[in-house]
Symmetry: D2
Subunit: 161 residues, 4 copies
Amino acid sequence: MAVHIGVLGSGVSDPGRDAVAETIGSAIGRAGALLVCGGLGGVMAAACRGAVRSGGVTLGLLPGDDRSEANEWVSIAVPTGLGEARNVLVVRAADVVVAIGGEYGTLSEVAFALKSGRPVVGVETWALRRPDGTEETGIVRSTVHEAVEIALALATQDPHA
Amino acid sequence: MAVHIGVLGSGVSDPGRDAVAETIGSAIGRAGALLVCGGLGGVMAAACRGAVRSGGVTLGLLPGDDRSEANEWVSIAVPTGLGEARNVLVVRAADVVVAIGGEYGTLSEVAFALKSGRPVVGVETWALRRPDGTEETGIVRSTVHEAVEIALALATQDPHA
Amino acid sequence: MAVHIGVLGSGVSDPGRDAVAETIGSAIGRAGALLVCGGLGGVMAAACRGAVRSGGVTLGLLPGDDRSEANEWVSIAVPTGLGEARNVLVVRAADVVVAIGGEYGTLSEVAFALKSGRPVVGVETWALRRPDGTEETGIVRSTVHEAVEIALALATQDPHA
Amino acid sequence: MAVHIGVLGSGVSDPGRDAVAETIGSAIGRAGALLVCGGLGGVMAAACRGAVRSGGVTLGLLPGDDRSEANEWVSIAVPTGLGEARNVLVVRAADVVVAIGGEYGTLSEVAFALKSGRPVVGVETWALRRPDGTEETGIVRSTVHEAVEIALALATQDPHA
């Protein structure tokens, strides 16, 4: 079965961030991996567009209960009706996640990925410092161009893959 | 986008019931509809097998948090980690549902489908009588061979389709 | 710890049904049990009112994400944000359930209670017939005046209590 | 209705951290606020103990589906059966949250609180830096002795309160 790569990022469009997401989505599609995301706009839509245009398949786990909320590049849409709690399901459905940008929803997904032992690749995302002053090292920093390659390598060596 | 048909039924294998499920799954696959189910064994596995063998695609929404719990004919598995509450998500993801047999989990899904206004086709399933003695007419009874045809017709005329 | 009794019923007011619910709520409060419900109007509000007026405590598990949706007799409100999936949580929180009336949401909760092995007391509620024509016997029929006494007896002998 | 204060922290016991949690729980109980948490051990148990011993009431939203998993100082236990997704419910149930320590589950709850606009008071917890290098200012840093006073002030001026 294909590796499932979660793409985490804001639903609000931002040209620079969306371009990053589309590049990452394209790489996921070319690699034959499945892209999992929250199914809405912004980073999610750009990543799905990239994946589908490069021949990939995308799974969108929506917060609402109406399938039509999905962006047009979602291949399979699941309207969870759970609100923000669907972020947990996005992480559960992925073998590895790529976090893009610095919004709160993304942070929640990074936290759930770290909690559940899934590898996290971060592209221009949060930096986290523990109370004792040490930096969290569970987020593997990457450029946009290497992110999917790193994610695939981490997923393959990880027990969740 | 393809019609999403939910197949509701027990995870425990029963030769007669599983044969019914496989026939229905085959018809879903041939029709080019997407089969949505709970992703486990019994009716779910038989329906997925029928769908995949006739060229279809299947979506399995699992109760646990491990994708490997899915039966081998699930094309896309979503480990919800919600336990029995995932039954609600199976119904939400479907435009119409086909209920097979008489187990409690199936009953809960029929109830959610009726509650949310999705059409329900029943094949050898529960009969429900209201407190005033009237029979519930929201379950459209069908033979195994007509079930998918009826489901597609109902989905097409229904606002949820 | 007090027995947790779930009260299942419609959110739409109906004078006769609400009077039944208030009587049952009063008996729960007098018995020193905790009343668990979905926290909204109709049967839920009437049952909570009865419980609180007889000295009891009520827990309302709301479908939305705003605590203020709770009826005014909910002692502790939990805004789950899960929509109808919160019905599963109402059942999980209860040792035994009392189902009142014949709406679809109530049916879903009865189904989850049967599925999870919790005793179900039914007052003017659904009757269920299996595909083989036999009547479901898991719903213990009761008059309004005996319902809570029966529920307490079932909860005490049940492993979930 | 009383202010609902969420206490977020690890389920693993640590003497220093648990002492902080117990002090904060005591202050919540003395203030007449309701303490909401995940209902398990470590920070959650210590905070509940402090609250109950100072006359307060505690609500525990458990990840599993068995009420007996709750620590002994939980007044009302709700077994959600949602796994880690219950973290979202803890935040939804609170007007304001106090985060203690630096574990991943705590981080996910802080993220959901920030996302949903609930004030966050942090005691020896995570520091978060955005991709542009700026520090996240949504976490109001506090000593253990001032945390509840600050939380109450923030809840009172906040639209969620």
